[in-house]
Symmetry: C2
Subunit: 265 residues, 2 copies
């Protein structure tokens, strides 16, 4: 099972949109995918058409060990399972702050299903706190959605440092695999400049043993497409909402590129 | 002095862009404006062309009472002063957690300058934590930038509840004055639907005594304009960077609409 944490502490960069639509595309390719909503905002849960208030057992109950992962995941689409979030998750970080091994609870919880799925994809909240650390401890790969704007680069270094720390102290298998440029405005020069900045930055890490030494910018950029923002209001993936739009096209390519990358490693 | 807190716990909705350019427009109208960077990300500070690492006395030092507000504000443009942020702000919330009156430290700190400025505008981090609470305790008005997307509405209720709590327990003068729709895509139907949803929601509060009973959606929408994202990479306001673009036009109207609203109340 490939385990991918989708994270960026910056808000509104496309994490949830990326998790929903990449997972849906992989499921559409016949692969078994389970997604985890680790965000107290529960946007992944809402995006897939569920109501967080109606969820009795969520990622919160799994983290506090009141429920078991393999019993609470729900089949939400063909080949696509979800561990939803509910409002209780808001309190998770402070409640778990003094629990021994508080960063590896999720990793433990998913062990029973290691052979049952092809992909596990985790949607992280916009922070580098305990929920995100649980995602990083549980995953093998990190996918970073990034808006190609100047201010977006400011937090990028800190994000990579956090992954590096988890790699060195908790999870030696953790690697940043990919950077996904989202909300890419093809007509402007700024996105290409920012992309060049990121490429230089990644270049300088090649051949070292840091956690992002092999990170690549994915060849597909997610273009700005209002359909991607409309789909969640119907509780639909982009493929259900408007399967011929640019958003669907781009996320199909992202899924294919992630899947083929896995075959070569 | 009119005191405006610009907040939304959702990330990347346009808070900093709104603070910089509305303040710059007001300063350009000849008004004396002081802006406060309360975000550990220090984006307001960076956007105005300063380096947070070079800042010795920031909003952090004012909150921990190591420095005085009136001594640390810097004149950064004609009529425009800044209390910058530096990296120390990252630790502020946990350091101040057990200080008595921890939410009203900023309010106390700005009292000496009450008569020296026309406007105080506070840039808040994307959270409803102690830094944002200090902004809400210090301000009289709240301006909420909002991206007109479905998922953006999910957190809106919680934001208003927080303002209501501060109004009832700490700052009875605090009111939500305006909602500013940002990154408005004029060609799509979703933004107008979301705008209608917000209008209905605000309607239902009219005539009550809650903190948003008089809140209005500003008549100007900030259109998506890549120039607004390019300006910070040069450390410039939109008026310095490209004063005839849509971004400059929209923020000029926002400043005029805020200023004229103040004359009637
Ligand atoms: N390529 C795109 N084009 C247009 N709108 C988009 C695109 N990607 C995402 N959006 C919209 O932008 C908003 C932010 O996206 P999303 O919720 O996926 O970001 P996020 O990083 O998960 O945010 P958060 O940090 O709050 O969890 C949402 O309303 C979403 O529908
Ligand atoms: N109208 C607009 N058109 C295009 N880009 C914009 C617009 N408004 C803001 N941006 C860009 O979008 C990004 C997010 O905006 P901004 O930093 O102002 O949001 P924020 O709410 O302050 O974010 P944070 O929650 O991280 O503090 C920035 O890169 C900014 O330059
Ligand atoms: Mg999200
Ligand atoms: Mg900001």
């Amino acid at each position: 099972m490939r385990k991918i944490a989708v994270l960026n502490q910056k808000g509104g960069v496309g994490k949830t949109t990326t998790v929903v639509n990449t997972a849906a595309a992989l499921a559409g390719m016949g692969l078994k995918v389970v997604v985890i909503d680790l965000d107290p905002q529960a946007h992944l849960t809402i995006h897939l058409g569920l109501e967080p208030q109606a969820i009795r057992a969520s990622s919160y109950e799994v983290l506090t060990k009141e429920a078991r992962f393999e019993e609470e995941i729900m089949l939400v689409r063909p080949n696509l399972w979800l561990l939803p979030a509910n409002i209780n998750l808001v309190g998770a970080e402070s409640e778990l702050v003094s629990v021994v091994g508080r960063e590896t609870i999720l990793r433990e919880a998913i062990e029973p299903v290691e052979d049952q799925f092809d992909y596990l994809v985790i949607d992280c909240p916009p922070s580098l706190g305990l929920l995100t650390l649980n995602a990083l401890a549980a995953a093998d790969e990190v996918l970073i959605p990034l808006q190609p704007h100047f201010l977006a680069l400011q937090g990028f270094g800190k994000l990579l440092q956090t992954v590096e720390l988890v790699n060195k102290r908790i999870n030696p298998r953790l690697k940043v695999q990919g950077i996904l440029l989202c909300m890419f405005d093809t007509r402007a020069s700024l996105p290409s400049e920012v992309r060049a900045d990121i490429e230089h930055f990644l270049e300088s890490a090649r051949g070292t043993n840091c956690a992002w030494a092999q990170a690549q910018i994915l060849p597909t950029f997610i273009r700005r497409n209002i359909k991607l923002a409309e789909a969640p209001s119907y509780g639909q993936t982009i493929f259900e909402y408007e399967r011929n739009c640019h958003g669907a096209e781009d996320y199909t390519k992202v899924a294919e590129s992630i899947h083929s990358q896995g075959q070569t490693t």
